[in-house]
Subunit: 251 residues, 2 copies
Amino acid sequence: MTSPRTSTANHTLFNGLRLLELIAAGPGEFAVSDLAKTLGLPKSHAHRLLRTLLDAGYVAQSGDTRKYRSDFRLLALAGPFAERLPLRVHGGPVLRDLSEASQCSSYLAVLHQGGPLVVMSDRYRGLRPAHALDVGLRLERHASAFGKLFLALKRLSIEAAELKRLTPYTLTTLRELRAELVAIRRQGYSVNRRENSVELYSFAAPVYNATAVLVGAVGLAVPIAMVTRRGEDHFSALVTKAAASLSAQPL
Amino acid sequence: MTSPRTSTANHTLFNGLRLLELIAAGPGEFAVSDLAKTLGLPKSHAHRLLRTLLDAGYVAQSGDTRKYRSDFRLLALAGPFAERLPLRVHGGPVLRDLSEASQCSSYLAVLHQGGPLVVMSDRYRGLRPAHALDVGLRLERHASAFGKLFLALKRLSIEAAELKRLTPYTLTTLRELRAELVAIRRQGYSVNRRENSVELYSFAAPVYNATAVLVGAVGLAVPIAMVTRRGEDHFSALVTKAAASLSAQPL
DNA sequence: GTATTTGTTCCAAATGCTAGAACTGTTTTG
DNA sequence: CAAAACAGTTCTAGCATTTGGAACAAATAC
């Protein structure tokens, strides 16, 4: 949902989807008033939309607090689609192996509407903290390993206005970013060095299908302590190997 | 989506969601005319709804055939919700082990709006055929192992009209079904013997949380050939064990 | 080459959505 | 403990929005 309203689109459906996204994204329950405020809608209107989502089975209402939360029907929407995605089908074992080998959270992402979007994740069992990337999340193009990888390999254009500073390490000038993209194209993988969160490094490598078309990328989020101990090369080698093994599958 | 329209609900949102479900469920692409016909809407109206879904990023349009298909944004809806479900989080390894041990497809289901709904699936690698149950699918209450299990343990009421015959083995009288439910309560698991598809047996066992509340069930779909070879007890023991190990987790 | 599809655009009519105010119950506050 | 503030829900009436038939162009079938 980028623009609040487009030329000729269905207002009701659009707002209903925004509402559903909001409830689906956050954990826990949501009050009507808060939802209405967030979306800039009158309370009664939000309430009506909620009732429709309720009837359709996408949200449920807590019996006592009267607040709204996601309901299981939501799974019916994305489930079949997700299960048919070749990248996800074959990516499961690859991510599992990668998480096992690196002892970190691993991810699969695709390029969607010009930016990276997480389509699968697998976290190393035993390691809690660094599991911030939910499936469906869109990442910053200039401050994520996935984003920089796609910018580099698809040679996408980007404007200076987009380069928002997120940490002291974020690349905020086109000059810096362009140099980085050249390096990424040369080495075949990308590294995000605390550019998005000061606690994390991340790595990403491209996945190609049988006809050599870029179809996605494999990624890895690594706490800084682990990077200083094992070195960047260790992790970049792991993601590159994982991406290569996924590229060998029939995608 | 049970009833076509409810008393006081948003028509546009409701139809838009039905449209999105339709596209998300089926594989491949969909033509505007077919979608309109299926939903009983005028073509121009369906087209407008599609444009809204397009703008929102939930569907994409093929450049040449002009047909519509699901797009990645769909994952953003269910992704975060699915990843936070304790049953799914802890169920992954359990289903994997179960699929490995049984060499069959295994499933996780919950009770939703009075019927069983698949929330996770894992198919045994190497075995293609019996992977019919998509995540999000709702099953027959009287002709599925999950359905009968929930009917038995939650003591739900069911009417004779619902007992549609699907195969020669389907239980189509309340008398038969009641006897079956008594047996299920006694043995603690349920078996579906070709009652839904003539090629499949299926097994289901209940999952309880720490406070002994029924929160879901573990299931297994087994081709008849394998049942005759290994016996029912083999598979019922496997699902029961898997369900017990999942019940031991913090759900 | 014709005829029947397809997806898309247009527009007028009225449906049904919108949003403010009123209502009821619960929680917070003085 | 009163009373005020705020929760979710219901009501209503005006008018913006959706609606759906018909017209359009392009692609496909015959």
